[in-house]
Point group: D3
Chain length 326, copies 6
């Protein structure tokens, strides 16, 4: 990233992941915007930008990870402040797009909260959104403002480009995850298996998971998913081992990692969990390396640079595929 | 459907599927609205409504099947005419929602035409949209106006509730179709298999299909899909038979059936293709019953009645599941 | 409230103040709508309405009190669910309107979050908003949808219509509060005093409050305010007593009452704090009656009834003034 | 056109008139944007832009000539793709604006499709529209985005600036066309005549045309119109000759030229039909020169250049008038 | 008009033409809404509605005649007040639609104020607009809300259905007026003539009018126009008489009648000017009957009734044509 | 203001205060845009811009002072013309923002006209608004486009930074004015007093003003207000003198000065009225210096320059405070 950015660009770090913003700022060689964000005693979020933003191309770094409502409101309030401060363009960099799983009505009288989020972000004044590994691709269409949808799959897959994983199998925890799993099979040239659940016992109250399609016997398994929250997916590890899997790894883009999840990962037979830092994973939660964090910052820095300089973003991914050394 | 509809409701038949509109009108016991639709020599569509619509609850029946652009424009022009004629509510009944497959960007610089269609339908003045088996569920979220998403799966599955299909397997032609296939497995309590394609030969120019997950050997197979257009899916029939399948059936909601498709179905070893009439299949195309058409009209009539009378639409489906005689 | 409400109305209780919703429902004689609201492990709010809302006039009771971001998002998600479920009209009853204090830019590059809230509530699909004692009257204008702005002043003033308060003085804690104080002086026919602060000491770091205008010596004082949050206003009690006030009471519409506030009220020389239940004050926080709660439910019930039946809301207040027995 | 265009501009050719786009590109000295447009078997239009458009000033050349619905949808889909690809500005160059004749309700319950087209083009993301000789001037007002309305009259009139036409008369085929005819009379300093129709015979089923106002006897006549579609206007030629006209010419901006039209022109006593290439007229349809095509490309190229460089467009026409050598 | 209007309808009279509102109210048998409209010393318009409007179908009678800006702002402020007062539907009855002549750009850098007016009326909250004889039909398309476009031509033409006018000729003062003139020729079965102007003298500073098309010699002439403002059209009277016309009458829908106009009419050889009362013409201006006023109130009352009762408005005109006794 | 403005900026003077526009243009060293604004005989405003605006940053100077409706419509029509002429950015400089006092509903069924004005200005196409001393700060929030709110208080206060005013007191004519008065007390370090009114006599028809809070006895008094219109505030002068004030001065930002006001000022015991020229005060109205006008032009020129050059506007005020020599 040789050429320096023009001076009319600035990066704003929300409180959701300032570590990531710092890293991006360092890569791009620009200091973060001076901003004060605080929570009032009545729980309201307050934002005060301390530098002029007139005519600036602003990039706000704010994943809407838990607490999702606070982080989302904070994002919108920052956007509102930037717009009213006459920023030229307000780019919302939302590496983890919360509420993505609520992207359709599964029964009557449900909201479609992912669409609501897209609408309110737009009305708040965002001019562009950048997100990584959305829960489903059509969420792109929830926006009419330009949206750059990035993927961390090539980044995470890198960890599995070793002789050891030559005969591995990619496992999707359910049918909804097969689209993501397919990206891994494309990049790693590995086969796929899919798990399903069935209900058993009196009244179907017991839920039983099993490998419904594909073969795992004798193989090293890589479970892939877009987010890990409660860590309940770790239950699949034992089932896979019982089904004959040699060992089980896991690759997940967004480490939501609610309190229970770290304990479950620690207690499970999982060999390794590879995640990105779209959401910050503090050192203490990494379980001495059992949870390995690959930084998304270089990718986001490159994307920000290209957006600002009006050069292609999709090219970044095209290049990555070409260079793929399997 | 005992209670008669109030007199402030009317049904408008576009030119895409007047047969379906007739059937619905007959079930509901209301005559169709008097309307003249024509094509001018310069290819423009012209619409003239011949009855007063003031204060009426209008239901326009118009699948956006091929020619999709003509049918879509005709739909929007009818909506515009209704709105300007002071209709109280304009409901677009779009049994087949064209452009549904273009619901996300698969590479850079693609449109998301399904969202564009949602936006322009809304700006034309539609107050509600009803569709059947959308290509993907998040398309519901492309709309902010109320959208009722119906499914024809229980209707089509009915044909397979026979002893003969007791040990059948549901086959999805690709990973993208597994969500729909899952609906069939739920309703019919059958297992699923998935097909994939791989590229072979010099430069990967040959495409080869195969059963990538699940088991078809010795089984009766039901391929399920949302739409059949060119009939290229019929190629899978031989592959399935070569893989040991006993016989192959197919259930598809939307019979787009381009010219080539009927020939392919005729020439294939397919036992039977069951479709709905979201798109009209004239008698001559039904191949003496090899293509069997199940009417969606009773479902749409019931939905229109419930919408107009403000009773639950989701209840219709809840009831169907309960009554399911497997 | 003799005439029963028509059956096409329903009340939805959010999680911010279900006690208030219950009370309103009881007064109006209608059961609350069956709804499930939960928080997912990844902190997302999820809403599922369990009854048909088609064609219904829906009233959602949800003050946006702390945690304001959660309650606001929950409100919008409920609104989205109602709209998509084809409710005829979605009325957001927001007794306490959070973020009301952020209604203008006080320096450069601040957001105007109260306007942002109005915009996103509208885009979520609310058709009307009802609020009580907004921080400033122009917030009404932040909405283009109809907004009914109610006041609790007559209700709270009722407590001070006793001989004891015949010579009392209404005290506004600052200039911004004089508009509210004026409502009390109008209703109670009492004079007003205003407090101000000045900075002292090295670098002006000490803040000193004093009675800048009006007379409190020898008088019973009633401090009035729209909300009490941290309880810092209790500091004024001693200053007023030092300035010669006989005793000090307080009337506040919205009991935000952060943890510290109850302690401060308990520890202060305040005689009595009268509040409404726009925000719930559990029994344990009421300090054996030192904090007295007057219910706003009868007023809100009457307003909901009049809105639903299309009779005047402003008449309710006109009537109150006429009946005022001073 | 000496100064070269800056490199942040690109021209996209839709499939409606690629010949015109080529000509414009050649004049401006810039290659056309690499784009793939195709029609899927289910008749859907698909667009894939093959070059980065970030920050580019994009000019899409697409008259909405027949098949109007296909060309219009293709235009909107291209606009959508450009917007989502972060183009800086998307300019829709629509030399022929289809549906222009449907610009008002002539009876109750008609659509105003020209307005619908303006609305959906805008919602698709167009930032500017350029059109030539709209059917009526107020269509400009259907847009709120900037619209540049050009006229081909000076260009077409050029053909009639010869001694031979010194005493000619401009004929408008009906009252609606007199505004356009007036432009010709202004430029050519010739008088005008107007034709009308009356109904005759049993039930008024026979339509008879006649010169209702103005004088054609002994004169060379130039019929002028905005578009020629079915060629029915050629019927006027005989009537004019019968009324004493010496010979009849015709000048039309938009050669829609449905199949029948070319035959009618060939068979008529018309001396010459002069048109522009807003719609392409292939060599085979030009009847050995009886239909003469004047290229609009130089005008459009100049307009595109001025738009991109922010210099006046109206000046182009002011200059033309000044230089007018009559 | 036998059946009485339902009680949820009200008529509001702005200050532009209260006489017309009174007349309409009397015909419909409903009292006008109690409203106070005043002008503040700083020239601001203030509106206070004195009756509850909740759920009412409101019809505001306000032509935007001179002073057009005051009347237009007053109309929008009334609309805003109605919307915020929870009216069910706000219908703007604008018999004379000011700024209608500014319906397109005639040169570069002009506004299209008629569109601006349509946009701001809509954003103010109008749900429907009713207007009479718009300057051009496409103005209907400037609105997306329903618009009922009425014509006073049958009403005004009634005055000329006498033997005396059997051989009269309809004269349009210019080409732009021929569309309106055509309506008269249709209704009265008379021929048309058109006047034009040419510039003469040094520098073309003298403007000369003449009969450019059609024949007036020996005929009674009826000049028709949509509005009479400065009365400059009276200049045509002498020219027509000099051209051999027997006598000259005039029919105009909107009597804007600036001060000079009444004098010019009085001083001219015009036999009679027939107008409607879309704009009030006080007795003193009627010149002892030389200006004859035909009331539009019965038509507007019927239209309001049909709108409110959801019966056809276009039928009113269809009926009139049928009953036409020529 | 050393650095010259770039050439892509232009200033347009409306007819409300061309003197101010001239002054600003002179300070910035740029000639005003060539524009023709006229009033048609039918009272319509017509605007014709005579220079190309393509890509220009346009600043329109137009206070919406009386006649407020004419000036507001003229402003919007100019904005519409600029937008349609492809201006890059249309900045509405509205030094006096008319209708500001109508910023909330004070009783039921009132409009909120200040919000209506914000909405229609935005829909007309304004991209930014600049105003001075709005009647209330939340009006900023009525806009979603960037709004720069300036204050003339430091400018006006300058006149009172003399030994003579060392012990003066700032008087607010009512409670609503205390926020503005506070700005003066901050800048001048003086105490405040507030006046109120009470009703007396039979039926409370007599209104009596009095000093309700604060002390004026023996002091020089400075009444401060945002606008002076009818001059009724001059009545307070005698009351203040009767209450013991030594002498009375007045500082007002906006000199609306209806006809009566100048007479009242002349006749009153007021020593001096200091105003700005947001609204022009012709020499003849200045009463030989009793009304002193301080020019706001240098401030507006600086703000325009900073907006155009994307440098901070709030900094201008920060600087002023720092330099404040009290």
């Amino acid at each position: 990233m040789s050429s320096p950015l023009r001076k009319d660009v600035t990066i704003i770090a929300g409180r959701a992941n300032p570590q990531l913003a710092d890293e991006i700022g360092a890569i791009l060689g620009i200091p973060l915007c001076d901003i004060r964000i605080s929570t009032f005693p009545n729980s309201e979020t307050h934002v005060q930008v301390e530098e002029s933003l007139r005519g600036k191309d602003v990039f706000i770094i704010q994943p809407t990870c838990p607490p999702v409502n606070d982080n989302l409101m904070e994002l919108m309030i920052m956007v509102d402040a930037c717009r009213r401060a006459s920023a030229r363009q307000v780019n919302a960099i939302v590496p983890y797009f919360g509420y993505g799983r609520q992207d359709h009505k599964s029964t009557g009288r449900e909201p479609i909260t992912a669409k609501l989020v897209a609408d309110i972000l737009t009305v708040a004044g965002a001019n562009r959104v950048v997100a990584v590994d959305l829960h489903s691709a059509p969420i792109q269409g929830f926006f009419n403002i330009p949206m750059d949808h990035l993927t961390a799959v090539p980044l995470l897959a890198q960890s599995f480009k070793k002789p050891k994983f030559k005969d591995a199998v990619i496992v999707s925890p359910d049918l909804g995850g097969t689209k993501l799993a397919e990206k891994y099979t494309d990049v790693l040239h590995l086969p796929m298996a899919v798990m399903s659940k069935r209900r058993r016992g009196i009244g179907g109250r017991e839920v039983e998971f099993f490998v419904s399609m594909g073969e795992v016997k004798g193989k090293t398994v890589i479970i892939v998913d877009d987010e890990i929250t409660s860590g309940s997916t770790t239950k699949l590890v034992d089932i896979l081992l019982e089904s004959g899997a040699k060992e089980v790894h896991m690759a997940v883009t967004h480490p939501v990692l609610a309190t229970s999840a770290v304990d479950r990962v620690r207690g499970s037979a999982l060999k390794q969990l590879v995640v990105t830092n779209t959401i910050d994973v503090p050192e203490g939660k990494r379980l001495d390396g059992k949870i390995r964090v690959v930084s998304i910052a270089p990718l986001l820095a490159k994307v920000i640079k290209n957006i600002h300089e009006n050069t292609s973003v999709s090219k970044i991914f095209a290049e990555q595929h070409i260079n793929f050394p399997v």
